[in-house]
């Protein structure tokens, strides 16, 4: 699809910020138009990476849960973002339970597992971070 959706969202955001909002009367509508532009910039970032981020997260969570002997269920039905989200939510719920369990135990295996979970959360948060232009 040309132009790609993310490219056009960035173009549209630029038009909103530089051409449309400045020509609106100051106030709520002008502010909303500018905020919409920011949301479009964020959506453009998410568009390109959404499936890859979720697929990576799901693989990592599956691996952590499976090595702890937990049932991980069927993988996502497809690589569509909604299907990956459904799988992601199911795995994340199990991860919360596993994390709470390992925190409550003090063995070396638990400490290593906790470190692995924290490492996963850190990398997941970094991958999901969104960036804004500095005005």
């Amino acid at each position: 699809m040309i132009p790609e959706a993310d490219a056009f969202m960035n173009i549209a955001a630029g038009k909103l910020l530089a051409e449309i909002a400045p020509n609106m009367a100051p106030g709520y509508s002008q502010g909303s138009a500018s905020t919409l532009a920011m949301v479009m910039i964020l959506a453009a970032q998410e568009y390109g990476r959404a499936a890859e981020t979720r697929a990576w997260e799901n693989d990592r969570m599956r691996s952590i849960l499976a090595r702890s002997g937990l049932e991980v269920g069927e993988p996502a039905a497809s690589l569509s973002v909604p299907d990956l989200n459904t799988e992601n939510a199911k795995l994340a719920r199990s991860l919360v339970v596993l994390h709470e369990t390992v925190e409550a135990h003090a063995g070396p295996h638990d400490a290593a597992l906790e470190a692995e979970i924290l490492d996963y959360l850190k990398e997941s948060a970094a991958r999901r971070r969104l960036y804004l232009p500095v005005l």
């Binding site: 925190e103 948060a125 969104l130």
Partner: protein, 338 residues
């Protein structure tokens, strides 16, 4: 300024005539952008040939975080005329028949504006001056005696301030999460396992003291502290942790609020408040600040997802701010929270 909503303008004039006997005409009415808990309007009146402006804050049909407008109004009334600059509160109306929803009105502060969190250097060469006032004023709020100010809000014991606030925001997350939040849950458990020391003082907590919630002028004078809707009594370090949060640092976490170094900020606060910051307690309250942020952003995302309040600022918060605070917390947890 034009009248953007003539029906609302007529209702405001009718209210002022009926309740205050004032013969006024609303010649300007404009909704101001921002503020997810209340609709905020700038109102211009013509009264006896003279022009006067005020701010109207009306409840939303669906609020991001449920707050009592009477709490916000009481805070303005308590601090007006003190070292903490606030607009003069003029009227609180709980009767929904006037403007469909409860509201209050207050003085308009002219020739001053808030900073946007998107700006890189909102204060320019006045950054240090603004920082001294911003963190100093927060110290004044911490120093204040709630009883002397007439604030009879429920006061927690010093050793349960943290517990009450954490429970409040855990409940918000429980109710509003629309997808699992493993980072928020890990943070909550860490905070329960590592409680802070008791509050050195139970005082007034503004609840949302940050960039964007105060007005300053081009000379770098802080003219008004706004948005007191989450005010309560508690540990004053709660506000300090929130004000220091990297999200409000204008893209430079080394300069809290985009104003000064963290050490300088704490110095201004300690000097004004007469309190000493316990570093262990501050670590906890900084963690709490980011978790409270998650609570607000999770609620914002839910408002949009549920179709209750689709203001784009809620989508922005649910995406950008949520991802930002998730990373702050995940990094702290991975480092053992220092």
């Amino acid at each position: 300024m034009s009248v953007s909503d003539p029906v609302l303008a007529d209702r405001i004039a009718a209210y002022l005539k009926a309740t205050q006997g004032r013969e006024t005409k609303v010649v300007g009415l404009q909704r101001i952008h921002g503020g997810a808990s209340r609709e905020t309007y700038r109102v211009k009146l013509e009264e006896g040939g003279a022009a006067r402006g005020f701010i109207l804050r009306r409840d939303q049909t669906s609020a991001l975080i449920e707050t009592e407008r009477s709490v916000e109004f009481a805070a303005y009334r308590a601090f007006h005329g003190t070292k903490v600059p606030v607009p003069e509160p003029l009227a609180l109306e709980q009767d929904e028949s006037w403007l469909e929803r409860p509201f209050f009105i207050m003085e308009e502060i002219e020739n001053a504006a808030p900073a946007s969190v998107l700006q890189g250097e909102p204060y320019g060469s006045n950054a240090a001056k603004v920082g001294a006032q911003f963190f100093g004023t927060l110290g004044e709020i911490a120093k204040a005696d709630p009883k002397a100010l007439g604030l009879d809000w429920d006061a927690p014991a010093p050793d349960v301030c943290w517990k009450r606030e954490l429970a409040r925001w855990e409940t918000v997350i429980d109710e509003d999460e629309r997808e699992p939040q493993p980072i928020a849950r890990a943070a909550i458990r860490w905070m329960k396992r590592n409680p802070p020391p008791p509050a050195a003082k139970v005082g007034v907590v503004h609840g949302d003291y940050r960039t964007g919630n105060f007005l300053f002028n081009s000379d770098g004078d802080v003219r008004a502290i706004l948005d007191w809707e989450m005010a309560h009594l508690g540990d004053p370090l709660e506000d300090l942790g929130w004000a220091l949060d990297p999200l409000w640092a204008h893209h430079n976490p080394e300069r809290p609020g985009g104003m000064c170094s963290k050490a300088e900020a704490i110095g201004h606060w300690e000097k004004a408040s007469g309190l000493k910051v316990d570093p262990v307690a501050l670590v906890w309250w900084e963690m709490f600040a980011s978790l409270k942020g998650l609570g607000i952003w999770i609620s914002a995302a839910a408002e949009v997802q549920d179709g209750k309040n689709t203001d784009p600022v809620n989508a922005f918060s649910g995406w950008y701010c949520l991802a930002y605070h998730n990373q702050i917390i995940a990094n702290r947890l991975a480092e053992g929270v220092r």
